[in-house]
C-alpha cells in the first residue's frame, strides 16, 4: 500500500488548539450522555423491581394505610415522568431522597460513608501502581525477545494465579492469618493506620498482578517496534532507548488499563469492606439491598457510577496529553 502523497496539514505552532477543542467537546459529550444514562438507569432500577418497593421495605405485616401514606409521601403515585423530573431536580439540589429504614436523608448517609470508601480505593490504587509498573518494566526488560523464557513463564503464571484469587478471598485468608492466628493487625474498622494495611493489600494485589503483566507485555512489544529500532540505529545508549523511547510508549498503553483497574477497584471495595467491616459505602449498599432500602441503593449506585465515569474521563484526558495521536483518533 502506498502512503498518501497529498499535502500534509499546514504547519502551525506545536500542539495545535483545534484538535484539543474537538477532543474536549467529544469527550464532554460522551461524559454527559453516559451520566444521563446512569441517572436514568438508577431511576429505572427501582421501577423495574417487581412488586411494591414500599411494601417490600415495610414488610408484609405493615398496615395498608401506612404503606399507602408512605407511597403518597414519596410521590410514587405520580405519573412516571413527573417522578423522573422530580428525581432529576433532586439530584441538582443535592436531595437524594430519604432512607426507607432509617428515615434519614440519603445525602447524609452518603456523606458520612463516602470518605472511608474513597480513601480505601485511592490508597489501593496508588499502592497497586507503585508496585506494578516498576515490576512490569523490570520483567519486560528481563524477558525481551530472545531472553528469559523461563522467567516469563514463572511470572505470567504467578500473575494469573494472583489475579484469579478474588479480593474478598484474600481478605478472608488475611483475616484468618493476621486476625485469628497471629493477631498482629486489626481486621475490622478503620480506626488506626494499621487497620488500613490488610484491606488495602486485599484490594490492591489482584489489580497489581494484572497491571504488571500488561506492562510487561507492552514493554516487550514496544521493544520490537520500528521506532525503537531507529533509536538503536542512532546508537543511543541503552538507558536512553529504554527510558526515552520504549518506556513512555509502553506506559501509555498501560494507562488505559489503569482507568479500568481503578473502576474495578471501586467495585472491589464493596466486597472488601464487607470482609473487614469497613465503614464505607460498600457495607451500606449490601445492607440496603437486603433491607430493600431502595433510595439508599439508588444513591450509592449513582455515586459509584459517577466515580467510574470521572475516572475514565480523567484517564482519557491524560492519555491524550501523552499520546498526541489519540487526539485525532475517532473512537
Amino acid at each position: 500500500m502506498t502512503v498518501s502523497s497529498t499535502v500534509a496539514p499546514p504547519a502551525r505552532n506545536g500542539v495545535r488548539t483545534r484538535p484539543w477543542v474537538r477532543f474536549g467537546a467529544r469527550r464532554l459529550g460522551r461524559l454527559l450522555v453516559s451520566l444521563w444514562v446512569l441517572v436514568t438507569a438508577s431511576f429505572a432500577m427501582i421501577h423495574l423491581i417487581p412488586g411494591d418497593p414500599v411494601r417490600g421495605a415495610l414488610g408484609p405485616t405493615a398496615p395498608a394505610e401506612l404503606v399507602a401514606a408512605r407511597r403518597q409521601a414519596l410521590g410514587l403515585n405520580d405519573p412516571i415522568v413527573t417522578q423522573y423530573l422530580h428525581y432529576l431536580k433532586g439530584l441538582f439540589t443535592g436531595d437524594l431522597g430519604t432512607s426507607l429504614s432509617s428515615r434519614l436523608p440519603v445525602a447524609d448517609v452518603i456523606a458520612q460513608r463516602l470518605p472511608a470508601t474513597l480513601t480505601l480505593a485511592v490508597l489501593a490504587f496508588v499502592a497497586s501502581v507503585i508496585v506494578a509498573i516498576p515490576l512490569g518494566v523490570a520483567m519486560g526488560v528481563l524477558t525481551r525477545r530472545g531472553h528469559g523464557r523461563r522467567t516469563e513463564l514463572t511470572f505470567t503464571t504467578t500473575s494469573i494465579v494472583v489475579a484469579t484469587i478474588p479480593d474478598f478471598l484474600i481478605g478472608v485468608a488475611l483475616v484468618y492469618v493476621f486476625g485469628v492466628r497471629l493477631g498482629w493487625l486489626p481486621v475490622a474498622g478503620n480506626d488506626t493506620a494499621a487497620a488500613y494495611v490488610l484491606p488495602v493489600f486485599s484490594l490492591a494485589i489482584g489489580p497489581a498482578a494484572i497491571l504488571a503483566r500488561i506492562v510487561r507485555v507492552e514493554l516487550v512489544g514496544v521493544l520490537q517496534a520500528d521506532f525503537v529500532r531507529t533509536a538503536r540505529a542512532k546508537r543511543l545508549p541503552a538507558r536512553t532507548v529504554y527510558l526515552g523511547h520504549a518506556l513512555p510508549n509502553a506506559v501509555t498503553a498501560a494507562l488505559t488499563l489503569c482507568g479500568l483497574l481503578l473502576s474495578a477497584m471501586v467495585a472491589g471495595t464493596v466486597l472488601v469492606e464487607n470482609v473487614f467491616a469497613w465503614p464505607g459505602l460498600g457495607s451500606t449498599i449490601v445492607q440496603s439491598i437486603l433491607n430493600k432500602d431502595y433510595p439508599v441503593v439508588q444513591a450509592i449506585v449513582l455515586v459509584y457510577g459517577i466515580g467510574v465515569l470521572v475516572v475514565n474521563t480523567v484517564v482519557d484526558v491524560v492519555l491524550a496529553r501523552l499520546d498526541p495521536r489519540s487526539l485525532i483518533r475517532e473512537d
Partner: protein, 632 residues
C-alpha cells in the same frame, strides 16, 4: 485443529489446568450423587467442631460436615456459573454481531451503547441487576450473566470488525452473499477460537463473581448452598472454626484457577502472542578469525563471509549464508532480491541491528576500518551514530509517535556530538531544511503523524545527516511511497551523495530503482550473492540465469506487447528449507546434476562476479505453449 488443541496439554501449565478442570467437572457431576446424604446429615451434638477425625474441615452450626458440603456444592457453584456465562455469551454475541446485520446507522448506536455500559465494572452492574431481579440464585444468575455481556459484546465487536474488514468478506458481499450467511459462514468461524477462550475465562470470572455475590448474602439463599453461601456462613464463625471459611474459599480458588489457567493455556497454544516455538540459537561467541588482507583506504564498508543465524520453528535458520562485498567512498551499491533472499537482514547485520535472538558471524566486518565484530564501546557507538545513516522502509512507524520530530533528530547531536540541547535543535532544523522540508522550524516542533509519508522519509534522511555520514544504508526506503514521491526521495539521496561523497547501500526488490540509482548491483538469492555487476550491465550483460530472468520478468515501458511476460516457475526459496547445491536450480532452465549437488562460488574479476556453473550461457528460447499448471 486437533493438533493445536493437543499442544495445550503438552505444556506443564496446560496439563495442570486440564487436570484441574477435569477434576472440577467430575466433582460437579458426581459430588451430590456420592455425598448428598452425608452433607445433609445433621448432628446437633457436634456443632461447630474443629477439624478432626471424621470431619476433616469440622462441622457447621447444625453439625453438618463442612468438607462434604463443599464437595457437594461444586455442582451448584459450577452450574450457576456456567449458566451465567451462557447468558453472557449469547447476549454478548447478539450485541456484538448485530451491527453487521442491521447496517451502519443502527450499528453505531449499538456500539455506543455497549461502550457506555463497558465503562462500568461488572460487579456494579451485577449489583444493579441483583436489585432488579431480586436476591437469590435466579436473580444472581441473570445479574452476573448480563453484567458480563457488555465486555463480551465489545470483544465480539472488535473481532467481528477485524474479520469484516478482510477482503474475503468483501468478496462475498460483492458476489451477493446475504448478510446472515456471511455472519455464520465467514465471520463466526474465524472468531470462534478467541471467543471460546474468553468464554472459558469468563466462566472463571462468573464463578468468582457468584462466590462474591453469595458471600455478600445476595446470591444463593438457604437452604440451598453454593461455595459463596458457605463462605458467608463461614466468615461469621471464622474465629471458632477457620476451616468453615477456608475450605469453601479454597474450593472457589481452585475452580476459578482451573477455568482461568485452562483458558490461558488454550490461548497460548492457539494464539500468536509469543510466536512459534523457537529453538534458541545458543553457543558461545565464535573465535574472531582475522582476515589479514589489507583494506584499501577508500573502502567504507568491508564485509567478508557474513552469516546470520536466527531461531526457527524446527531449528536454526540461516537467512544469510556467506555474503562478501565492499562499498567504496562515494559509491552506490544496490542489493536486489525477492522475499527470502536475505537482503534486508544483510543490511541489518552489517549495521549491527540484528536483534538479540539472532547471531551474526563474519570473517571481516569493518566500517571505515573499525572492526564491527568487537564488543560495543562508546567510541564505536559514536562512530556508528555519526558516520552511518539508516533509512528504513516504513516511514509511518520508524519515528517515535509520542515525541516531536525535532527532538528525535536532536538526540543524535546531544548524545554523539556533545552539543547542548539548543544547539542540537538548531542543527536539527538546519538538517530538515537541507532535506527540503518547507517551513523547517515549525515542522521540527510537530509530531510524526503530522508529516506525510514522503516528508517522514526525508526527515529520516535528515536525521542521518545530523552527523557527517560516510555511508547511508537504505532498506527499501521508497517501497511504501508513491512513485512521484519516490522520485523526490531518490533525487535527494543523489544530491547528498554528490555533495559530500557519501556512499550508499540501497536495498530493494525493485530492479528498476536499483538500476537507476546505483553504480553497482548485488543480486541476492536464498541468502547468497549470485551476481555482482555494474548497474549499466544489468539489461544487457547479466550472466546469472536468475538475474536475467528477473530483468526479463519485470515489465517496463518498452516490453514487447505481443509476447507473454517472462515468468520464473516455482516460488522463491524459504530460508528454513534451502536445498543442497545451488538454491536456484529448481527454477533454472540450465540446471544439471552438478548444479543440484554443488553450490557454485562467487567468482570473477573486480568488476563482475557470478556464482553459477553455467554463467553466461544462452538461455533456452521461451515456450509458446500454455503456462505450467500449478499445484499447491
Amino acid at each position: 485443529m486437533n493438533r493445536r488443541w493437543s499442544r495445550v496439554v503438552r505444556t506443564p501449565l496446560g496439563l495442570t489446568a486440564t487436570v484441574l478442570m477435569a477434576v472440577v467437572l467430575a466433582l460437579a457431576v458426581l459430588g451430590p450423587l456420592l455425598w448428598d446424604a452425608g452433607a445433609e446429615a445433621v448432628d446437633t451434638d457436634n456443632i461447630m467442631a474443629q477439624p478432626a477425625g471424621a470431619h476433616l474441615a469440622g462441622t457447621d452450626s447444625l453439625g453438618r460436615d463442612i468438607l462434604l458440603r463443599v464437595l457437594v456444592a461444586t455442582r451448584l457453584s459450577i452450574g450457576l456459573a456456567l449458566l451465567a456465562v451462557v447468558i453472557t455469551v449469547v447476549a454478548g454475541l447478539l450485541l456484538g454481531s448485530a451491527p453487521l446485520l442491521v447496517g451502519r446507522r443502527f450499528g453505531r448506536l449499538l456500539s455506543a451503547a455497549v461502550n457506555v455500559a463497558v465503562a462500568f465494572p461488572g460487579l456494579l452492574l451485577a449489583l444493579f441487576f441483583a436489585v432488579v431481579f431480586g436476591v437469590g440464585a435466579t436473580g444472581a444468575v441473570m445479574a452476573i450473566g448480563l453484567a458480563g455481556a457488555p465486555a463480551f459484546a465489545r470483544l465480539t465487536q472488535t473481532l467481528v470488525a477485524g474479520v469484516a474488514a478482510r477482503d474475503y468478506v468483501s468478496a462475498a458481499r460483492v458476489a451477493g452473499v446475504g448478510r446472515a450467511r456471511i455472519l455464520f459462514r465467514h465471520v463466526l468461524p474465524n472468531i470462534a477460537e478467541p471467543l471460546v477462550v474468553n468464554a472459558t475465562i469468563g466462566a472463571g470470572t462468573a464463578l468468582l463473581s457468584f462466590a462474591g455475590l453469595s458471600f455478600l448474602g445476595l446470591g444463593v439463599q438457604s437452604p440451598s448452598y453454593d461455595w459463596g453461601r458457605l463462605l458467608y456462613d463461614g466468615i461469621g464463625v471464622i474465629y471458632v472454626n477457620a476451616a468453615a471459611a477456608l475450605a469453601p474459599g479454597a474450593a472457589v480458588l481452585l475452580a476459578g484457577l482451573a477455568f482461568n489457567l485452562f483458558g490461558e493455556s488454550v490461548a497460548k497454544a492457539l494464539g500468536v502472542s509469543t510466536g512459534p516455538r523457537v529453538v534458541r540459537v545458543g553457543g558461545a561467541e565464535p573465535p574472531v578469525v582475522e582476515d589479514t588482507r589489507a583494506t584499501p583506504s577508500d573502502v567504507v564498508l568491508d564485509v567478508r563471509d557474513l552469516e546470520v543465524v536466527v531461531p526457527g520453528q524446527h531449528g536454526p535458520v540461516r537467512p544469510v549464508r556467506g555474503v562478501s562485498f565492499a562499498v567504496r567512498r562515494g559509491e552506490a551499491v544496490g542489493i536486489v532480491g525477492e522475499s527470502g533472499s536475505g537482503k534486508s537482514l544483510t543490511a541489518l547485520a552489517v549495521t549491527r541491528l540484528v536483534g538479540d535472538d539472532g547471531r551474526v558471524d563474519a570473517t571481516r566486518l569493518e566500517l571505515l576500518g573499525h572492526d564491527l565484530r568487537a564488543p560495543d564501546t562508546a567510541v564505536r557507538q559514536r562512530l556508528l551514530g555519526t558516520s552511518l545513516a539508516m533509512v528504513f522502509q516504513d516511514p509511518m512507524t520508524s519515528f517515535n509517535p509520542g515525541r516531536r520530530i525535532g527532538g528525535q533528530l536532536a538526540e543524535v547531536a546531544t548524545h554523539h556530538q556533545g552539543m547542548r540541547r539548543r544547539a542540537a535543535l538548531a542543527r536539527a532544523v538546519d538538517r530538515l531544511a537541507a532535506v527540503r522540508i518547507p517551513d523547517a522550524a515549525t515542522r521540527a516542533r510537530q509530531y510524526p503523524h503530522e508529516f506525510s509519508g514522503g516528508m517522514r522519509q526525508r526527515a529520516m534522511i535528515g536525521m542521518g545527516l545530523m552527523g557527517s555520514p560516510a555511508l547511508i544504508v537504505a532498506d527499501e526506503p521508497t517501497t511504501a511511497l508513491d512513485v512521484t514521491v519516490q522520485q523526490q526521495v531518490l533525487d535527494l539521496l543523489a544530491s547528498i551523495r554528490a555533495a559530500d561523497d557519501v556512499a550508499l547501500m540501497l536495498i530493494s526488490h525493485d530492479v528498476a530503482v536499483v538500476g537507476e540509482v546505483c553504480d553497482r548491483v548485488l543480486v541476492m538469492y536464498a541468502g547468497r550473492i549470485v551476481e555482482d555487476l555494474p548497474a549499466a550491465d544489468l539489461a544487457g550483460s547479466a550472466r546469472h540465469p536468475y538475474t536475467r530472468a528477473l530483468i526479463d520478468a519485470v515489465p517496463d515501458m518498452t516490453t514487447d506487447l505481443t509476447e507473454p511476460l517472462a515468468t520464473i516457475p516455482g516460488r522463491p526459496v524459504d530460508p528454513a528449507d534451502v536445498p543442497p547445491g545451488c538454491a536456484y536450480a529448481a527454477r533454472c532452465p540450465l540446471a544439471d546434476d552438478r548444479c543440484r549437488a554443488l553450490d557454485p562460488e562467487l567468482t570473477g574479476d573486480a568488476t563482475h562476479r557470478v556464482a553459477c556453473w553455467h554463467a553466461g550461457e544462452p538461455l533456452p528460447a521461451r515456450h509458446e505453449t500454455d503456462e505450467l499448471v500449478e499445484s499447491p
